[in-house]
Amino acid sequence: MSDYILELKGITKIFPGVKALNNVQFQLKPGEVHALMGENGAGKSTFIKVITGVHKAEEGEMFLEGKKVDFKGPRDAQAAGIAAVYQHPTSYPHLTVAENIFMGHEIVKRGMLQWKTMNEEANKLLQQLNADFDSTAEMGTLSVAQQQMVEIAKALSTNAKIIILDEPTAALTKRESEELYRIVDKLKEEGVSIIFISHRFEDMYRLASRVTVFRDSQYIGTYDVNGITNADLIKAMVGREITELFPKPEVKIGKEMLRVENFSRTGYFRNVSFEVHAGEIVGLTGLVGAGRTEVVEAVCGITKPDSGKVYLEGQEIHIHTPSEAMDKGIILLPEDRQKEGLIMSWGLGRNVTLPTISKYAKSGFDNEKKERELSKELLEEVDTKAVDIFQPASSLSGGNQQKVVVAKALSQEMKVVIMDEPTKGVDVGAKAEIYAIMGDLAQKGYAIILISSEMPEILGMADRIIVMCNGRKTGELSREEATQEGILELAMEKGKNAGKEAR
């Protein structure tokens, strides 16, 4: 009998044109929580898909409890007791929670699905996870965190011996992450082995006993979590040292640029007021679903607010469409790069120039030469790792995609820049670069609103922090007075000012 419940040796996986994994190895001890880290594009997700049988490796061997196994598809892995919770919830929005949990291993009697039993079983699992929703709820109506919980319930329902969590906390708020930690601890106690992928160091320190690092499709090393420093780990991941993660420059705060007064939209937010000054970075935080994104989307004309006023440089403005906001210099970098920020199948150049194309067009006709020059200039300015401006946005890593989104914003005349979760799913190396760009923009005198759920990011970058809860602004803290605990308290001030308790 082997020491390891799962062992992979010499795994190589080739996609057309790319070696996604190059001779990597991995060992998982029974009952341990093992973190798998590395920058985006390092091959973690591909590696997971090899373990779960979604991809088949060209070379290499895999041993489960010492026995060599060869998965032909996801079903084989499932049968062998391996379950994965993927980065993007792989749920079926139109189906119920119970169905999502039991998809693929439904309870069947005489060829008929046993709905009643499945619903009951699902409810039991959900209770174990302290979930606050029913198994007959439709998946699409749940929040991201709740969906994540369903995914975990799904992994549990297969009685898996090995559970793989691929960035489960990326979409979760602090509080929800705590909930997840609790669940993972509980699983560990029950003897389940867990592979945990995350960009967050706090996740790793909190949960894992060992950590394996991948870089550029290669295996770098496996370390004991207690025996490695933060800096060493970053070095292993990035291949170089990062001196300062939050390069917040000292900027003299200028005049008021944007002021929002008594902004309301039924069902999303109510009576939100704030202002931003030139050179200032204002952090807007709160739990997911607190209405942060909705507020700025309404400011930018993407949705319509029911009431409220917006002032730009002291003048009241009326914005009805996104293009009006852009004309006035209010630029939004949307939260979801792939769905809202970029056209993934388009070349980088065209993505960058999409909002501004008519500005340098000659009587409605595109000036392609100028367009190419401009996009090259902007993409180089934010230091995008790209070969040419014609390669599709989908070929870039998350961090570089975010840089393209920034370049797209830079192509416009900016006064106020609103960045919605700019580092979500971005690896640590690229994060630092994005913070640097942010600092740079502030120095140039733009007013910046930074929406983020990541506490260190908010604390590290913002001059002033606005906290929202349940559609209301619950507090405002200066850089000096802000602490993690203080923000959390405001962010969870559920029902304190609201009329009646939810539910």
């Binding site: 920020g341 999409l354 194309i357 409605g364 595109d366 014609f390």
Partner: protein
């Protein structure tokens, strides 16, 4: 700027000529030549003058292809155009019979078409949840239904004042006016789609509607404009049909929407949106016209011609995919 590595990003495009030859449009041009050679051998009557003489009635449908390409690039579909053609032909015929100046007849056709298109556009932009297919299916029934009501129990109207209509069927030498008009419009539509900022935005909407909206593209406005233009072009089509038959009836333009969509798809414009260009669509329109004329001149059964077109259509879309899959399989 911080973290500047001085990395340079290439912004010189590939040689356009090479790209052009290997593209679907390149293949289509070759196919157009082949079809013409084939037809010339197949039918003893197939020559330029017979082609030019027979072309106008087919070309009327090509007017529908032009805006239909935009709609397909948007990732949408309009199956009401055949009915708009019917309604415009009917209304302009009525106006024509009152003895109104011909320019009024033309304006009527365009205006009626524009109104019909705008109705589609209005419903679709107002109720964005509704799929275009079902809305235009309903208006397809409605527009033809209005024509049926207007035409009354005879179901047919005939032009009594044909002076202006005859003008439309005129020719320069052997080349009919309609071909000139079509070429001019085709160039305009193709250039606007391929080279203008408007066209770029249409592709943006068709590829990722949400990103387009976030990037300041007036998604609903553009959709409304395109559906209205679709109506206007249906008006032009209706006008030429009116001039070729000196009348209209309840079956005028029936099934034209499918013909227009088939031409566009054969030309490489994907029905899923964001892909293809009008050059391909127009070449494929001429391939289909030539093939139909050539086969028709040997009196091939109409259903057999449709069968051939059906096979061609599926092959045109399926073969590149199958070849691509095979190539990938071989590489592995």
């Amino acid at each position: 700027m911080a973290g500047k590595s001085g990395r340079s990003i290439n912004n010189v495009p590939e040689a356009p000529l090479k790209k052009m030859i290997l593209s679907w449009e390149g293949i289509l041009v070759v196919l157009l030549v082949l079809v013409n050679i084939f037809c010339a051998f197949y039918s003893e009557f197939y020559n330029l003058s017979s082609l030019l003489r027979q072309m106008p009635i087919y070309l009327a449908e090509v007017f529908l292809l032009l805006p239909m390409a935009y709609i397909l690039v948007l990732g949408e579909i309009d199956i009401s155009v055949g009915s708009i053609v019917c309604l415009t032909a009917t209304m302009s015929c009525i106006v024509c019979n009152t003895g109104a100046p011909f320019i009024v007849v033309i304006l009527t056709a365009l205006a009626v078409g524009a109104v019909c298109g705008a109705v589609n556009g209005f419903i679709l932009t107002r109720f964005t949840e509704l799929p275009p297919m079902i809305v235009t299916l309903a208006t397809q029934i409605i527009f033809r239904g209005i024509a049926e009501v207007v035409l009354g129990s005879g179901g047919s109207i005939s032009a009594t004042n044909t002076e202006g209509l005859i003008l439309l069927t005129g020719k320069v030498g052997q080349v009919p006016y309609i071909l000139f008009l079509l070429v001019v419009l085709a160039v305009i539509f193709a250039v606007v789609l391929g080279k203008s900022t408007f066209g770029r935005r249409v592709y943006a909407i068709g590829t990722n509607r949400l990103t387009a909206h976030y990037s300041g593209v007036h998604v609903q406005k553009i959709r409304f404009i395109i559906y209205t233009v679709m109506g206007v072009c249906s008006g032009i089509c209706g006008l030429f049909l009116l001039s070729s038959s000196f009348g209209a009836n309840t079956t005028t333009g029936k099934g034209f929407e499918m013909d227009a969509i088939a031409m566009a798809v054969f030309g490489g414009i994907s029905s899923t949106g964001g892909k293809g260009n009008l050059a391909g669509g127009i070449i494929s329109a001429f391939i289909i016209v030539c093939l139909r004329v050539g086969l028709g001149q040997r009196n091939v059964h109409a259903q057999v011609i449709l069968l051939i077109l059906g096979v061609l259509l599926i092959c045109a879309v399926a073969l590149p995919n199958i070849i691509g899959q095979a190539r990938r399989a071989v590489k592995r």
